[in-house]
């Protein structure tokens, strides 16, 4: 079977490097990035559970890392990532049901995802800080 040159050199799509970022494309690629990022974060989750299963000393090591500046920044990032992926994931499911796919609704829900994920992250952190009685 011979493959023609045209078939080998066929253009790949979309041309991300020359494409203007838009409210349609940003949440799409961010969904992918947050999905992969959360996947990496599962190592931390497993570490937390394994340490808790091993006993208080091992658990204290994980908690010390989580409580450090780097740990807290990472936790903040993961909180936002799960909020974003969550809201945009529900957006995907609504599309799959056949709703909200016209340009206007899509743009509105896109912005909702962007601002909503930041707002939800803030709410979660305020709630957690209140639990500690520090607010």
């Amino acid at each position: 079977m011979s493959i023609s040159k045209a078939a080998i050199n066929r253009p790949t799509s979309p041309h991300l490097s020359i494409y203007k970022p838009q409210i349609s494309s940003i949440p799409s690629i961010t969904h992918r990035i947050t999905g992969v990022g959360l996947g990496a974060g599962t190592v931390w989750l497993a570490w937390w559970l394994i340490a808790a299963a091993s006993g208080p000393e091992a658990f204290a090591t994980v908690q010390a890392f989580s409580g450090s500046i780097i740990g807290r920044l990472l936790l903040l990032g993961f909180t936002w990532a799960i909020c974003f992926h969550f809201i945009n994931g529900v957006r995907h499911l609504i599309w799959d049901l056949g709703y909200g796919f016209d340009l206007k609704s899509m743009e509105m829900s896109g912005w909702f995802t962007v601002y909503g994920s930041v707002g939800l992250t803030g709410l979660i952190w305020v709630a957690a800080i209140m639990m500690r009685g520090a607010l």
Binding site: G35, T42, A52, A53, G55, L93, M131
Partner: protein, 124 residues
């Protein structure tokens, strides 16, 4: 879920029809309440210590929710990463290696997390 055309034609190049797409959606739907539960639990536990996490996972409902969250989450992750790998890794050998690594990672880390949860729950 398979389209009738897919059955007739041998389910397309991946040989499993729309199964992958469908299970990705099923796990996504299941993750909606499970992630809400997980985040709420993390907030509640954030002020606690080792003993409070152990006590939490010894209760049956949190244990069941945690196991469902882990199983569904790692399954969803495996399906999702598979699509990402298929999109970006062009070389067939590399692709196969990456897909295997993905499956081993999700099964391995997922099983470790499940066993740890069970040990916390049933341990002394």
């Amino acid at each position: 879920m398979r389209t009738s055309l897919g059955i007739v034609r041998g389910l397309g190049s991946a040989k499993d029809g729309t199964e992958h797409f469908w299970v990705q959606r099923v796990t996504a739907v299941a993750l909606v309440p499970l992630v809400v539960w997980f985040m709420a639990s993390l907030i509640a536990l954030s002020a606690g210590d080792h003993a409070s996490l152990v006590a939490f996972l010894k209760a049956p409902v949190p244990l069941i929710a945690m196991l469902l969250f882990l199983a569904t989450g790692f399954y969803h992750l495996r399906l999702g990463m598979q699509v990402v790998i298929e999109d970006y890794v062009k070389d067939e050998g590399m692709k196969l290696a990456a897909l295997l690594a993905n499956t081993f990672f999700c099964t391995g880390v997922g099983t470790a997390a499940v066993v740890a949860t069970l040990k916390i729950s049933f341990g002394a």
